[in-house]
């Protein structure tokens, strides 16, 4: 009789498999296909930041932005983004991911004027997007955790994202976005997560974006 595998054993096996995969991919990748991922909660400005980076270095945008939550519902990647600073250059693939959420209610989209059918479809795609974003975590070499600095940073979603990156030993930078807004409190983000490097920027206006580019060189 085949013994039934317990959930706890599966978690351990999954963790070992992930570490092996990560080790092999890091050895063979030789830093040629570095992936930098943008992670964070919904509507924190991940795609706005992706667009800013792509516009600055490639002259084209990556995705559409919207005030309606879950505009990005699938992982999008822009290959071979090369940034330069003080004679150094860094080439990476930029991965924009759907916002991580624990709940998705199609009725929230109706409040933004979407029709019921469209709202339901959007909700369905959004759930798939969250699942896809979590699956992609293992492939990242560096993650920019994009948080909305006008909101309370101590949410379970943020804590879970940071905890998962720590568990996978993936380097990360916290980007406290939207510092151009009056309600912004980048200091609150810094004090909530004192163990991580936090950079306050505005992806929309480009404020302090050069500081972020410099930090990418240090982080990798």
């Amino acid at each position: 009789m085949v013994p039934q595998t317990e959930f706890g054993d599966l978690m351990v096996l999954r963790r070992i498999g992930r570490k092996l995969r990560s080790l092999v991919s890091r050895i063979f990748r030789k830093r040629k296909n570095i992936k930098i991922g943008l992670y964070g909660p919904v509507n924190s400005g991940k795609t706005t930041l992706a667009n800013k980076i792509c516009m600055d270095w490639l002259g084209e945008e990556l995705g559409k932005v919207s005030v309606i939550p879950h505009e990005t519902r699938e992982v999008k990647m822009k290959e071979s983004v090369t940034i330069k600073d003080n004679g150094k250059s860094l080439t990476f693939n930029l991965v924009d991911t759907p916002g991580i959420a624990t709940k998705i209610d199609f009725e929230d989209f109706i409040k933004y004027g979407l029709k019921k059918r469209t709202a339901k479809q959007r909700a369905k795609e959004a759930t798939k997007g969250v699942i896809e974003a979590i699956k992609w975590l293992d492939d990242m070499d560096l993650v920019l955790v994009v948080l909305d600095s006008t909101k309370d940073p101590l949410t379970q979603v943020n804590i879970t994202i940071l905890g998962n990156l720590d568990a996978r030993k993936i380097p990360l930078l916290i980007v406290a976005n939207k510092v151009d807004l009056k309600r912004s409190k980048a200091s609150r983000v810094r004090s909530a997560f004192p163990n991580y490097k936090t950079i306050g920027i505005s992806a929309k206006t480009g404020f302090n974006i050069d500081e972020l580019y410099k930090e990418l060189f240090n982080a990798l």
């Binding site: 978690m11 991580i100 709940k103 998705i104 379970q156 804590i159 879970t160 905890g163």
Partner: protein, 135 residues
Amino acid sequence: MHCDWAVNLPENPKVSDMKNIMIKMIPYEKFKKDGIKSFLNDLQKDTIILIDAKLNPEEEALIIKETMEEVSSRFKGIELGSLDLSSGDKTTPFEKIRNSIIETIIGKKRGFTIIGPAKIVRKIKRDPEDLLLYM
């Protein structure tokens, strides 16, 4: 019988306005054995789940991922909150070592995790040393 104190009491809420809120306690050992299967049905039936341990981040991500797969027009997902009682800003290095030994022996991280259906629990706020449930 004299009872002045009763005069200022608010009106009794109507029974019809009150919701029957179910809270189910699940031992971490059961969650570790069966995973989300141990409470997914309960969540979908509007029951709040309380696990007697702080889950690790990977377990939390797995819960988010697997509940997302179940989202429908009726089940809108979850609110998740957890408290780690073994480490914090005020924990001394000695306490951290002691807690780590205790956790190795008992096989779980001291704390608790609460998972509520989004339909019932609007928000779980971290205080940061307490969890507040908004329903």
